[in-house]
Amino acid sequence: MGLLSSTVSITRYRVEGKLRKPVLETMAECLKEHAIREIEDDVSAKIVGWTSFDKPFNPDFRGSSFVIGTHFVFSLRVDKKSIPSSVVKKHCAMETARRLAETKRPYLSRDEKRVVKEHVISVLSKRIPATPNVYDLIWNYEDSSLWFFSTLKSANEELETLFFKSFQIPIVRLFPYTTADLAMGLSDTQRDILVRLSATLGAKE
């Protein structure tokens, strides 16, 4: 679900740091360095990288193309090749039959079966196109806040990892405790009480 979809889902983050100055140049460099690359003729099963919000299949981070108003707007793209297990099974059976016929043996050893499977997956990976998934994000640099337009656990984990790798800045997911601790302006005394809280509503677990 993209930012401009009629309904959106948002995971909120707090960005725990600032970029090296000049900010726009640093930002462009980091995005380019970790931009998505194609894996169509590659054996890789998955690749994760940044892409442009308005051109998700042709990333371009030149100039300030990732700036809209006071926000950085770009997308996370995860390309994944998934080969159905039945296809792997079929090609393994074909390759096994071919090897047995060639060597005139009645069966393959366990190691040989493993090699056949690896070979089949590698050959199929080059032939099967990767399925792209694009998740938009908005980084309000001044506010140190980030909205990620997906609540999928796997997509959020990819974002957290790639964000730190790209910008060397950690991001903290805002769930109830972190929201209370970091974003609500509680005093030190209130934060001390927060740490000591325990459940008061509902059945005791």
Partner: protein, 174 residues
């Protein structure tokens, strides 16, 4: 700050208490909700509430859905020790309306439907559309932040045990 994964699990109850309190607050605190904005404001329970009742090793889940659903089943579940795990909200500000669901455990805002915006017909429209969408999403985010701030300020005060918990219990058993 505590380790993120430790705090996620250790204080998971905060999200459940927040949504349970929010239901109570919507039912009983409309005057305070009206003070949140200068324009006329309305905040209502939407068409879906999910409750969870955790006892020992079992988790019982109760879902109430439908535009005119009777919430009595939900109150009954609260009486039995359940807490709210998902709450769909309808928020009106002036003549604009937002609909979205808040999840207790993560505070994720899901299926957020903002007031309608102009269609994007060319590349030049994209920038304006993004800014408009961000502005509209921000309204819903601000509302939930204001409500969560009200909740957490109460939660870390003596008022929670002295005043809020007895009021919630009274509401549940009424």
């Amino acid at each position: 700050m505590l380790d993120v994964s430790v705090s996620y699990n250790r204080y998971r109850f905060l999200g459940y208490e927040y949504l349970t309190w929010l239901w109570f607050f919507i039912e009983n605190g409309q005057d305070e909700i009206k003070k949140l904005e200068q324009e006329p404001v309305s905040l209502q329970i939407g068409n879906r509430i999910v409750l969870e009742n955790r006892q020992k090793d079992t988790v019982e889940s109760i879902t109430i859905k439908g535009d005119d659903a009777d919430l009595e089943e939900g109150i009954l579940a609260l009486r039995k020790g359940a807490v709210v795990s998902e709450l769909n909200l309808w928020y009106k500000l002036g003549d604009q309306e937002w609909r979205f669901t808040v999840k207790a455990e993560s505070l994720h805002m899901v299926s957020l439907k903002c007031p309608a915006t102009g269609s994007v017909e060319s590349q030049e429209d994209v920038e304006g559309a993004v800014l408009e969408k961000v502005y509209l999403c921000e309204k819903a985010v601000q509302l939930t932040d204001n409500l969560f701030k009200q909740f957490i300020t109460l939660r870390v005060s003596e008022d929670w045990n002295k005043r809020v918990i007895p009021s919630i219990k009274k509401w549940i058993s009424a």
